[in-house]
Symmetry: D2
Subunit: 363 residues, 4 copies
């Protein structure tokens, strides 16, 4: 049968944001899928630094305290489908993306749904699960089918929960043109998106990938993801290293994912004439940068919001073929009732934590 099978209970456990930095595990009503939705039994939901940020201070259009379940990086099993849905069936193993555009504004109509002009307006059809509508720190969650992708058996839920990260990086690569065969790439900052950027650059046959950072353990993780050279900026001048690798010309593509206040300026200086800068990490507030240097050498700066242009689908292909593995990034897992400890592990990088996973339906 379609709709709501018998085995789904009426209530579920969910981590509800009650106040700043205060998640509480509560029994709440299980949502019903609308005509274009599926109901997902969440098997894994990864903690993202944006969760930390929005729990600290609400993001625009975030639902009020007491009603909002965060979590936007999750995977699970379809347990019910909406009345028009034949793209999915009960039992399908799936991963998701966060952004469902409104499907009616100009940006959505042109395919740019992560930049929806009706962001935060559910009455217009927009949803961003875990941001403006309920997300995955719960046993069940409803997703519009546009945000759901089947995953093959060989991909485990923990890895699949990280797929928005890979989708986001792929969206970045598509944004800067998508074709980097033989190009020189520098990645600044070995956070999750930086490490994945290394993997994507190599998967797309970039010629030489340099990763810079401050923690040796993360730089080693970068080597494991395929970096040709890692630079600990405490030991070595990264600009010298990049110029050394590029015959003094700078790199074709700089991916700034450190979010450091010096990140934009460093990226500008490291780029080759006509080079491109992709920003995945952003410092809070205003920082200084030399735009004149940007212009003098005909460089450009690109950003991405979320995991657009259906790149989560492309991401699954990479996991399926084994061209990229995210498993090593999923360093820790916790039950839903341990979510406080999970966040602490993530923010303090306890035990070398990179990505920390919540298992909402763990026994």
């Amino acid at each position: 049968m379609e709709g709501m099978p018998l085995e789904i209970p009426a209530k579920m456990k969910a981590a509800v944001l009650m106040a700043p930095n205060k998640l509480e595990i509560k029994d709440v009503q299980i949502p019903s899928p609308g005509p274009h939705d599926v109901l997902i039994n969440v098997k894994a939901c990864a903690i993202c630094s944006s969760d930390v940020s929005l729990m600290h201070k609400p993001w625009p259009y975030q639902p009020p305290y007491g009603s909002f379940v965060p979590g936007h990086e999750y995977a699970g099993t379809v347990v019910a489908v909406g009345e028009t849905v034949d793209e999915f069936q009960t039992g399908d193993r799936v991963a998701v993306e966060a952004h469902l555009g409104c499907l009616r504004c100009r940006n959505c109509r042109l395919g740019n749904y992560t930049a929806c002009l009706n962001y935060g307006k559910p009455e217009k059809g927009h949803r961003a699960n875990g941001f403006t509508t309920n997300g995955g720190y719960a046993q069940y969650v409803v997703n519009h089918i546009n945000t759901v992708y089947k995953i093959p058996d060989r991909v485990e839920f923990e890895e699949a929960a990280l797929i928005t990260n890979l989708g986001c990086v792929l969206y970045g690569f598509e944004t800067i043109g998508g074709y980097v065969v033989g190009d020189q790439v520098v990645v600044i900052g070995p956070g999750p998106l930086g490490l994945i950027s290394v993997a994507v650059a190599k998967a797309l046959c970039a010629g030489n990938v340099v990763l810079t950072g401050t923690r040796d353990s993360r730089l080693e993780a970068g080597l494991a993801m395929g970096a040709d050279r890692v630079v600990n900026v405490n030991d070595e001048d990264p600009m010298t290293a990049v110029m050394d690798e590029t015959q003094g010309l700078g790199a074709d593509l700089i991916i700034e994912s450190s979010g450091n206040v010096n990140g934009p300026q460093t990226a500008i200086e490291m780029a080759k004439r006509m080079g491109k800068i992709l920003m995945l990490g952003f410092p809070d507030g205003s920082v200084t940068a030399n735009f004149s240097a940007l212009g003098k050498d005909n460089k450009s700066i690109y950003t991405v919001r979320g995991e657009g242009w259906a790149n989560v689908g492309r991401a699954i292909s990479l996991l399926e073929s084994g061209r990229i593995s995210l498993k090593s990034l999923a360093t820790h897992a916790f039950r839903l009732d341990e979510i406080e400890e999970a966040f602490k592990t993530f923010t303090q990088r306890i035990g070398g934590a990179i990505k920390v996973i919540i298992i909402p339906n763990a026994d």
Copy 2:
């Protein structure tokens, strides 16, 4: 005959940069065209703010004092052609662009010759007349044919001397995608490039063009170039005006040509989600900007160096058809021996000066 006709004298008058801010009219040898060159009798050479900058403090790869003739915006008549040249004939009326790439580096091979990786290396073939090789504040100048374009009779030399400005703006529009039909555009700063940006936006059928600035005379010039609305920021909040014109969404394209320290941040704030920012003016040194706001809304920043991708040829087409006229920008003209007064008129905007022209061969 080809080569060097009899009527060309051995010596010419040229404005040689002898020291910072010190141009001296001297008798110098007339250069000979190489195999791929033409010799041009300069009829008009326009002053650019980059001339002011490089006379104040030398730009990279600028020839030494005592030997360097600046001036890169000029037009004239071909008086001799190199041995392989049949693309031009003696008597052709021509305009020029500044950048001849080396034609052998990777950027040049891919068509990005204004971002030549051998910039400033004449031994590799690179020239940028008026920057790294001699320019147009002289009676004669040599140009490689790649930098020369025939102009039709209906286009006068004074207007043709401004064509690199139009070529630069067109290159900017091509860089951001080239297709702006119906788009909302904001131009910040009514300098020459800003005014031309207004004209190009309207020529390419942008829907609504707002120009912001501080001088009413320049804003009126902007209306004459086709702006739909002008905003004097001393009288009216430009952000309010832009949001008013765009139903609160921001504009599709922001062209920052003020060079003001607030320019980048203002541009970021005025752009729509997924909007584009084209930077034509640059503040000296570092300024502050909120990259997080750039990224949150998936915006991107583009720059242009010079007048690339052969857009000077496209620019001539616009002048020829009358779709754009630059005549009103050429507000003043001086003889070569009046060049000091000409620069003063330009920098102090005496008499409402916009672009000031030197006529090197005036009687």
Copy 3:
């Protein structure tokens, strides 16, 4: 009030396709707008050659005889809005586009809704009014808001009814890159799309536009739309003319809109090395062409389905500014009960007919 105002009657007149080439004016139920729809009182609906074709032989997914109202080029007034709609109000003057994608397939999600992978499946949300769902040869029609655009007062309904044609040509120009300043363009075939292609090429500042055809009256219409040169192929060899205009190099862009069996091959031959061919007209069935000539000179062929990428919105901007006028193409108008005569006028080009308009609510 929203929804269904009192003044809307229960029944309307509509031209229902009863059998091949047989339209019958019938009284039918007025449709109700769904939650994302508006109900439009049709003021003008233009005859398209695809109407002629699908009335002769049903197109894929066309509704059965006895229930289908064709007509996809129409404009009118909003008389009721669906429950979620605040983008439009009763009384708004609007034009439409035909294709509403399903909004859930991969093509739709990426903005390519005219190439919807669920074409013809209304149960998935797809509609193509006048093709797979009811259209505008009726007093009222329902449109999803994604397919509706407000028109300014200065644009009359008859002209607005032609806007899908302009949207289609703009989509074509955007498909080939969108930036044609100074380019040499050839348009083959002075049908409605060909004539509009001439106008768009000139509006976007193409350098020189040649139009070829067989009827002097249509070629004169092309001159009125801005063609720089027209070639009656009965009097003059078009290839010679094109080579004459392009120094023997061929044109940058060839727009084939004749639908003639020789069209593709002629277009291939007329294109410059690296040139582009945009096909807007298509011969029935297979034709011969020399692909080797295409490849030897690195040429490419683009097509467009419908009026994609929201170009109808851009089209309205062009009509509003007066940059393009379609009025001269709307040569004839008929009442709904004269629809048979209207089609005859169109197909036989009686009285020099170019576009023929039905006025469903004429007194």
Copy 4:
């Protein structure tokens, strides 16, 4: 010293085309490198089907019988450099591309040098070694540095001689957009370019690659290059196979490299709505195709001439990293004096020949 070292003799052996299909090994003068050239001692030169074609019937701008040395796929060692050259040194191991544009026409200036508008005009600077100027079936050959790329030690000359094939395929992928992660690709025809297309599609992370052909041995080679499925069209209907792999939707990208008369039409039918067709093989003369089917589904056709946009440089990166190996394609090698047998082996596919290499300096 630079220029011409002592060890270079005055004469060399070269295969000169004396008449149709008649190559003769002759002693000829070793050419001198011009100022922007290098002299290469040819270590390996691969036979291409275009050699077979131009030996059968001269191609446009081919030098006259008695003076022309064909061969455009070669690698070797730099033995002398022109006076301005410091990009290369004597002893460098190098591979080449065929096309040196004139560097002065509009196409060359925009980076499209394989579509040079001065093709075949050496007086304008154009060269296409092995087509319009002498090539690699000789002990020495002169190349402009723009057409020369260093190869790392780990790449052998035989493999490097095939690099224009890989450069051509990469140029094709860049032409269609360059980003195919997860896309469904079909390659028609397992010739050298088809087999390499399979390898490139997989290297760039295409999701599923189907190869169709008629010879099991070649299809097995396709499996070795990474094809996910091969279809012998004598055993299985390829259209059924493609629809089976694509849920009936057709593939995102069709690469036609069979050159078969049915190739274009098959490609059109196999492509998804909005799909792309890249043509690498071309039937002689005109063939039939249904352009209406192309247009109805918004498909487009791309071609490539040669190995443009400096993709040979990117190709070397792929060989260096081992992401693609061409070794298995170099099935046979012959001495220069065995060139007749070599061509016979290639054209008759003796011993399963795929690519056949001439070793001009074999002992």
